[in-house]
């Protein structure tokens, strides 16, 4: 009989929002409580997907975009997201643009935000040690099952099997935008053309929706994004350019 796994907590993966959502709960809580918490997290992520998916004609975002839902009738979540996207548009000199494709697509914020909300709720529910990974956007709090700070690899931009950097911490929101998975899908909203110069941008902060939007914006800025990231308060970054140079914040929480 193989030894039972002795780590505390629970780990679960589900496919939602067209990507893999991984939840790692490291708190030593009763199994039924852990399952309940995980159920709540994934129910929330499915709710966000149903409400914000641009691939679903019946989602609230799609109906709002077609004018079938007025702002005054919109859900509190949709109004929050629209407001956050407007703020981010200003904070990024227009480079984070939920309308970059010509129609409303807040996905660059929603995925990170949804994971952030899930993490906030876990913390409030007494599960202070966890890792939520929504398709590569990562929110960690507390400690991993081994009792150490969470270790987050940053994917190598030319090798899907490898990582190029490792950050570690107990309260981090790590978001990466790159051109390596879906090609140059990030548009420079000012030129309407694909952004160039940067291959991968990782932003580390404490709000995953914001980190995600900043990473997307810097990618759209191209090389100018490096200087812009340098001037951001309360965020650190790792940028890898098309010619494989890397530019890191001096205060990036790197580890071996």
């Amino acid at each position: 009989m193989p030894a039972a796994m002795t780590r505390p907590g629970l780990c679960r993966v589900e496919q939602i929002m067209g990507t893999a959502i991984t939840l790692d709960l490291a708190d030593d809580l009763p199994p039924e409580r852990l399952r309940e918490l995980a159920d709540q997290v994934f129910a929330w992520m499915r709710e966000v997907d149903a409400r914000f998916s641009t691939y679903r004609a019946d989602s609230e975002v799609s109906r709002f975009d077609r004018g079938e839902v007025l702002l005054s009738e919109a859900s509190a979540d949709l109004r929050f997201v629209l407001e956050a996207c407007a703020d981010l548009w200003g904070a990024t000199d227009g480079f984070f643009d939920a309308y970059a494709t010509g129609r409303l697509d807040p996905s660059g914020f929603v995925k990170g935000w949804a994971a952030q909300v899930a993490s906030d709720r876990l913390l409030a529910a007494g599960a202070a040690n966890h890792c939520v990974n929504a398709g590569g956007d990562v929110r960690v709090r507390g400690f991993s099952p081994s009792g150490e700070p969470w270790r987050i690899g940053i994917r190598h931009p030319w090798d899907p099997m490898a990582t190029c950097l490792v950050v570690a911490g107990t309260d981090l929101a790590v978001a990466t935008s790159g051109v390596y998975e879906r090609g140059r899908h990030v548009l420079d909203p000012r030129r309407g053309a694909p952004a160039g110069g940067l291959r991968s941008v990782t932003v580390v902060g404490t709000d995953l929706g914001v980190s995600d939007a900043y990473a997307t914006a810097a990618l759209a800025m191209g090389a100018a994004g490096i200087g812009w990231l340098d001037r951001l308060p309360d965020h650190t970054h790792a940028v890898i350019t098309d010619d494989a140079r890397q530019f890191l914040s001096t205060s990036l929480p790197l580890t071996d």
């Binding site: 039972a4 496919q15 893999a20 081994s146 994917r155 990582t163 950097l165 879906r182």
Partner: protein
């Protein structure tokens, strides 16, 4: 009983995986998942199926650890699942690194079906430890377009240099941050692997 069954089949699977995987380079973790007992590594050395058969939970001999769990198993016995001759040494001769690994449950690998999509071919392999999936590995992901053009350029220009040029780093990880993957084909292959495994 289910564990016992998994233990036995795991032995056979990991033994064959040992032989098969020795020849296949670059099987390693793609992204997200999953540090169960110990964090997984992004490099091929991270999860070594060869470590499993010898890892008796408390330093017991492999034989006793199996017979304790499955005294009346109808499955093939251990001697048929392993190459004969490895028994006497108590350690697989092909796996010197086992001495540095902590004891762990039986690990096995299951490969999902290959799935085509518009970007290329996707195939996923999972690593199962006990009744948990501890790692999902993309054996094949789409290449071409941006990736290949740039990686060729980059290797030509920067081969052998260090410093600020991006490097690979291998380490134990809890998770990986990266841009969103091509996911539907991944999902199909992953589901196939899971259905085979359980």
């Amino acid at each position: 009983m289910r564990r016992a069954f998994l233990a036995i089949t795991g032995l056979a699977a990991s033994t064959t995986a040992l032989v098969v995987l020795k020849g296949s380079p670059g099987t390693s973790q793609v992204a997200q998942d999953l540090p169960a007992a110990q964090p997984v590594s992004p490099t091929p050395q991270g999860v070594d199926p060869s470590a499993a058969p010898d890892a008796g939970p408390a330093g017991t001999t492999p034989k006793s650890s199996v017979s304790a769990g499955a005294p009346s198993s109808p499955k093939p016995s251990r001697s048929t699942a392993r190459p004969s001759g490895t028994r006497t040494t108590a350690k697989a001769p092909t796996a010197p690194r086992t001495t540095t690994k902590a004891p762990q449950p039986t690990t096995r690998r299951v490969t999902g079906p290959g799935v085509d999509n518009e970007y290329g071919y996707v195939q996923v392999q999972i690593v199962v430890s006990g009744n948990r999936i501890v790692e999902a590995v993309a054996l094949s992901l789409p290449s071409g377009g941006e990736s290949d053009i740039h990686s060729g350029d980059v290797r030509d220009r920067y081969n052998g240099t260090g410093g600020e040029v991006v490097q690979k780093q291998s380490a134990n990880l809890n998770t990986v941050s990266g841009a969103t993957e091509t996911s539907n084909s991944y999902k199909q292959s992953l589901r196939g692997a899971i259905e085979q495994a359980f």
